[in-house]
Every structure is written in structure tokens, then in C-alpha cells.
């Protein structure tokens, strides 16, 4: 009998923060992941700046990785020589979720055709039909993936563009599902359907009505943004209507995924509306800007006049600051290294800066999710959500 990946939640509420479990991953039948879950962002098969032995210094717990096509599609012909993508990149012990677009890179718009979509790798454009996409899926063998979709919409998209994105995603899903169910290599993997429709509630509804009858592990709430750093600027107010409307139409027993570098305040709101899975591109983008996340730290007196959300280690005030990024953080970077050292590395443009910041930021974001799950379980999530907003909204004012 084929084991199929399962999502389970006891929560019956439609649009509220909830705890769930992801289990029965074919390759790792003993693993159980709790949601809300943070997928660790990877690029070209690795967590940026962290070799596998360093990643294991960040966390010894089992992690789920997010993999996206733009940075990996050119590997496909070589991955064919090995059993799967994780074998090729030597991440066998980690389950993976394959997404179409890279959540950390702004998606190049346009070039979507009736029967194909375009993705942009480092060396140019790749045209993906549902069949060529499924060939890649069969080669990569991700544990969970999204059916090919046209998510090229955001708040500015026209009704015509939205309508096209829905129609195309629909036909693409048909082919993907057909291939999925008839393939022995991937039929036990988790397949998700993408909900498109931009910011148009009717379009979302149309899309969901179609998806409802399909046998899917869950849904990716797609088409809200075009990825990259801009996503950090999106406030909950801008998306609340469309998210609430969408989730209220979804069955409660299916997984809900939202990719992108949501800021922590928007993220806790998305969790509050019932989204289950995210990726850590936010922590990666913070690292690339030479910043360290501090929004959960007990702030020192020197910071009182300006409670920081992140610290930017390039700033001169850190040149002789021999304290860690965050005194209460237990990551390697905070246990052994000072802000002054990070400042020095930053000014020398040394690679170790990005290693240490990525260690901290990834560890920090994983802790953030642990804290979120704890608060949901203990019924204190609303207070925690408020606390995060208090810190973040202060930053917005300054």
C-alpha cells in the first residue's frame, strides 16, 4: 500500500491560528512536522552561506527545506544521474518542498503563455509546460510540490491578467494531477494546488470552486505578490480581505501554504488567519542586507530610545560594542561573537559576516516559529501577536 503524505489538524475553526501536523513522508515515515511550519530557504541546493555542517550547528532538529526552480532548473540534467535532487545536493536527510518561483528574488513578469509559463534562471529564460515541469518533478522527487501555475499577479494586476492566470493555472493543474496520479515515483508525494486570483475576491472564489474537488494535500495561496524583498513591505491591511475571503472558502483539513518574505508582523497575522506553512526567505534577505534580527530580544537600555527590529552591523556605533547581537539568543553567533566583530567583518567585506548573520537569523526565525506554536497551544497567541505588532509598528514610525 502506498503511504501518502498527510496533514492533520484538530482545529475546526476556518480562519484562525491553528496547530497541525505533517506526517507520513514516504522517505521518512517516522517524521512529524508541526505547523505553523517554517521551511528553510535554500538556493542552488544549499542554505545560503551555510555548509551542511554549519547548518547542523544552527539546529539539530529535523528541518523541512524549500527549494525553488529558478536556482535549480539548470541542475536537472545532472540530477538525472542521481536518485533525486536531495541526493544530488547531498541533503538526503531533509524533506523538501518545491516551489515554482524563488521567494527571495523578484519574479520577472510576463512571457506567460497559454500552455506554458516562464521562469528566469541566472542564464536566462526557461519555458515550462505542464509536461516538462512534471519531468523535472519526477527527476527531483520533492516530498511536496505545487502544481504548475501562473502566479504572475499582484495588487496592480488587471482583471484580464487575473482571469488568464486562473484559466492557465487550471489547465496546468489538470495535466500535473494526471501525471502525478499515474507516476509511481511521485504519486505518494504531496501535491498542492495554487489558488490564484490576485486581489479579486470573485476570481479567488472561482479558482477555489474548481480546486475543491481535486485530491490535493493542500493549497498554496499564490498570486499576491511577485516575490523578492518588496514582500517585506506588505502590511496585513493590504491583504486581509483577500486572505480571509480565500481561507473562509477552503476546507479546514487541507494544508495552507504562503511563500514569500513576509515581515514578522504580517506573518503573525497570516498565522492568525489560518496559514500553516511559510519559508525563511525573510531571514535570508535580512542577512543579505547585513542586518541581524532582534525583534524578540529584550532590548538593552542603550536601545530604549529606539527599539530596534533589526540591527545593522555596519553602523559605527557597533565598532566597539562587545556585546552579542542578542543576549538571550542561544545561537552560535550570539554565544561566541560580538557586534564589534561583526562590524569589523562587515567593513572588511568578509564572507564570515554572512555566515554568522545567517546562523543567527535562521536560528532566530526558527525560534520565532517555536514561540508561535507554543503560544497557539497555550492560548496566548493573540497577546504574542500584539507584542510583535507593537515592536514592528514602532519601527514603522521611526
Amino acid at each position: 500500500m502506498i503511504v501518502k503524505m498527510k496533514f492533520f489538524t484538530e482545529s475546526a475553526a476556518r480562519c484562525a491560528a491553528r496547530i497541525g501536523t505533517l506526517s507520513e513522508i514516504e522517505r521518512m515515515p517516522d517524521l512529524i512536522f508541526e505547523t505553523p511550519l517554517l521551511l528553510i530557504y535554500t538556493k542552488r541546493g544549499c542554505v545560503p552561506h551555510l555548509t551542511k555542517d554549519v547548518l547542523k550547528m544552527v539546529t539539530t532538529e529535523q528541518q523541512f527545506l524549500s527549494v525553488s526552480l529558478p536556482s535549480t532548473i539548470t541542475m536537472a540534467e545532472f540530477v538525472k544521474q542521481t536518485p533525486s535532487f536531495t541526493d544530488f545536493v547531498s541533503m538526503q536527510e531533509y524533506p523538501t518542498f518545491l516551489s515554482i518561483n524563488d521567494p527571495a528574488e523578484t519574479t520577472t513578469s510576463g512571457h506567460q503563455e497559454k500552455h506554458s509559463i516562464s521562469i528566469w534562471a541566472k542564464h536566462g529564460r526557461h519555458i515550462l509546460s505542464p509536461d516538462s515541469y512534471m519531468d523535472i518533478v519526477e527527476t527531483f522527487k520533492p516530498d511536496m510540490y505545487v502544481a504548475l501555475c501562473d502566479g504572475d499577479t499582484d495588487e496592480k494586476s488587471s482583471a484580464k491578467r487575473i482571469s488568464k492566470s486562473i484559466e492557465r493555472s487550471k489547465t496546468q493543474l489538470e495535466t500535473c494531477l494526471l501525471r502525478h496520479n499515474s507516476s509511481n515515483t511521485i504519486k505518494s508525494k504531496g501535491i498542492l494546488g495554487a489558488i490564484e486570483g490576485g486581489y479579486n475576491l470573485h476570481a479567488r472564489e472561482r479558482c477555489i470552486n474548481y480546486l475543491k474537488d481535486k485530491t490535493l494535500l493542500g493549497y498554496v495561496i499564490d498570486g499576491l505578490h511577485k516575490n523578492g524583498p518588496q514582500v517585506q513591505k506588505i502590511n496585513t491591511d493590504q491583504i486581509r480581505n483577500v486572505i480571509e475571503h480565500t481561507i473562509n472558502l477552503l476546507p479546514t483539513d487541507k494544508l495552507r501554504v504562503s511563500m514569500g518574505s513576509w515581515n514578522p508582523a504580517t506573518l503573525v497575522d497570516l498565522i492568525d488567519m489560518g496559514v500553516d506553512v511559510f519559508d525563511s526567505s525573510y531571514a535570508y534577505l535580512a542577512t543579505e542586507k547585513a542586518t541581524a534580527l532582534t525583534f524578540l530580544c529584550d532590548h538593552q537600555p542603550t536601545d530604549n530610545h529606539h527599539t530596534s527590529y533589526v540591527i545593522s552591523v555596519a553602523e559605527d556605533k557597533y565598532a566597539d560594542d562587545f556585546t552579542p547581537i542578542c543576549k538571550s539568543c542561544e545561537c552560535l553567533a550570539c554565544q561566541k561573537y560580538t557586534r564589534a566583530y561583526l562590524h569589523h567583518l562587515c567593513h572588511c567585506k568578509e564572507l564570515l559576516l554572512l555566515v554568522l548573520l545567517m546562523i543567527h537569523n535562521t536560528h532566530y526565525y526558527l525560534q520565532f516559529f517555536k514561540t508561535i506554536r507554543k503560544h497557539i497551544k497555550e492560548g496566548t497567541f493573540k497577546e504574542f501577536q500584539k507584542k510583535i505588532h507593537l515592536i514592528y509598528d514602532k519601527k514603522e514610525e521611526s
Partner: protein
Amino acid sequence: MYLHSAYGLWNFMCFGLKYDKLCDKYPDYEKNNIQMSEKRPALIFKVITECQTTKARVGKMTVPHHTVDTPVFMPVGTKGTLKGILPEQLKQLNCQIILGNTYHLGTKPGIDILQKAGGLHKFMNWDRALLTDSGGFQMVSLLKFAEINEQGVKFISPYDDSECMLTPEYSIKIQNTIGADIIMQLDDVIKTTTTGTRVEEAMHRTTRWLDRCLSTHQKPNEQSIFPIMQGGLNAELRSESGLQLTQRKVNGYAIGGLSGGESKDDFWKMVNVSTNILPKDKPRYLMGVGFAVDLIVCSALGVDMFDCVFPTRTARFGCALVLTGQLNLKQGQYGNDTAPIDEFCNCSTCKTYSRAYLHQIVTMETVGCHLLSVHNIAFQMRLMQNIRESIKKGEFPQFVQQFMLKVYPTKEYPSWIVDALQAVNIYLA
């Protein structure tokens, strides 16, 4: 064995000569020596095993932060970091001592910050041994308008065009603040291939600067100043330099002025001359040498310490060290190569990743660079460990022969290697 005993005699004669000269020139030498030795030394060097054929030896060098097994290769961590590798990883690689560059550290973060941090060890979270250079080499190689006079190295600051002077005193002051276990005297650096009176001038000046360094040194119980032997490619001058330096109370010696574009023939001969003169009971550090065959030949010639930026620099360009040279993993031929860089290497990179995957990420992801750096450092560490073990087992000559055969399977050995090894009684047939 004939050559070996001749070497012993030469060494003996040299020592006699050295001691006479030194007592003539410096009547207080003996007294000073005794006074200094009453304090706990900042460096203890013990020769554990001497090779019975060559001048190679295995030693243990104890400095305040660590005991280092010699012969040792020291990776270079120029600015208080080793190219994206965590100190935790370096320890896993069994790295016992690393280098920092005084010129760079004195510029950034600067001595104020290093002072406040309590030294470089604390600043960079490295609790094993550290060595810093004097800064002189960078002055001369990096700065356009460096000019050397008796006072020191005069240069135009690249930051504000003002005139600055690096003196022996200032170099030691910075190095005292950095706090490395071993520090270098400021030497009068000349181009390796320089000939004529300038070589002699630099050699004598280097000795004068050594005395200034020693007298200004603030932490003789925590840090050891190594003098730097000069003399260019002139054996007589080099011997003279050695004689002058060995008259000073120091814990070890550096062999300078080599590995700068001279012929390999000149190179090994000068190393050989240098180790003949330097006392056997002190560590000898050959600056700027790091290629595998060079490490083996120079270990056979009696060198104990090496440093080179090459293993980490070449990693940044996508190259992995192997016995026969290096693999440029950017090349298309590795795209389908599922083998590790080196199937006999037990580093985390070779245990985990294929050449095919490394091909995908080198020069694209920083992780690619880190993985190659880990492998390349592991390669150097393993080589040195193999050298030490073969000396201990009394099998060093065989090890050298086998190694050279692997590198040159057709036995077309470069003549300098044949000659250098022959000088220490190893014959490549």
C-alpha cells in the same frame, strides 16, 4: 649517510663559529641569556623525533594558547577571519595555529578596538595559537610609495595621503596589542631576486631592527619575537644573517626573503643553507611556502613551520587541491562527475559532496567557496600529519619517495626536487 655526517660536521663547526663571534661582539650575551631564561618562556620547543636520514624532525611547540605539532602548515586569516570558515570548523580540521596580518589588522579594526577587545584571540573567538607578521611585507607589496630608511618603512597612507612611518617599535606595539603567541620582527623587505649591495644592507638593517624590536617588546613572557633571516639568494650573506640572528635571545627563527619569484634551484639551496645555520633546538619558520611538494622538500630540509594564502585563495577561484595539483571545478567535465574531490580524503566536503554538485555552486554560492576551503585546509593538514607520522615511524624517506612517485608517475622529477632531496640523502630513482 656520507652526506648526512658531513652535514653534522658543518653544523658543529658553524655552532663553534657562531658562539665565538657572538661572545666577541656582544660581551653581555651570556649574562643576558641567563637573565632572560629565568622567566617562564613564551615558547617551548621539543624535538620528539629526528629523521635518521634527512634533516626533518617532529616537534612539539608549546605557546601560551596551544601546543602545536610540527612540521605545521598555518592557514592565513588575514583580517581576523579565515575566508568564511568558522574557528569551530578550523578546530574540527585539526588546525592548531593560524596567521593574522598586522598591516591589515592595524588598519581595520585598528589597535584601539583590538585593545578594547582584549586581543585578537578574543575578538575573533580563536583560542588556539596565533602568529602575526610584522606588516612590513604588505607595506612594500601593497603600497605604491613605500620607501625604506634606517628609521623604518615610510609610506603614503592610502586613506588620506598623509605620510606614515612603520618602525620596528610601532610594528611590535601593534603586535603586542594583537597578542599573537608568535610575532615577527619588522624586516627590511627587498625583492627576492635583488642582487648587489642592497641585499647586504637589508640583511644588516634587519639585524639592527631586530634589536630595536626586542628592546621595545612589552610581553616577552607571552609572545615570542621571531627574527627573520635575510641575505637574498647569496649563501654567504644568508649565513652571516643567520650568525647575527642566532646571537640574539629568541625562541625561534623565520627564513625570509624566499618564495618571491626566485628559481626553485636557488630556493631549496637557500633553505638548506638557512636550516644548516639555525640551531636545532628552535623552531624554523619558512615564510610564504605552501605547495605540497615544497612542504615535503622543505620539511626534509629541516623546516618546522609554513604559511601560505594559496589553499584558501585557490578555493575562491573554484579550485580544489589534490595530490597531482588542483581541480578547477568550474570546468564542464565535472558536471557529471559523481565522485568526491578525493575519495581518500576524509574532510566533510569529500564525505558529503560530489564534484558534480560542487561544479554547480563554485563561484556562484559562498557555500561553494567554503566547501573548497574546508577541503583545501584539510588537504594541507593531512599532508603535514602524514609527514609527521612517517618521521615518527622512521619511514620518512620512503614516504617522500612514494609521494613524489604519485605526483610524478612517469618519474620525470624536476631536477630541483632530485637535487634538494639528494642533499638530505633521499634518492629518487
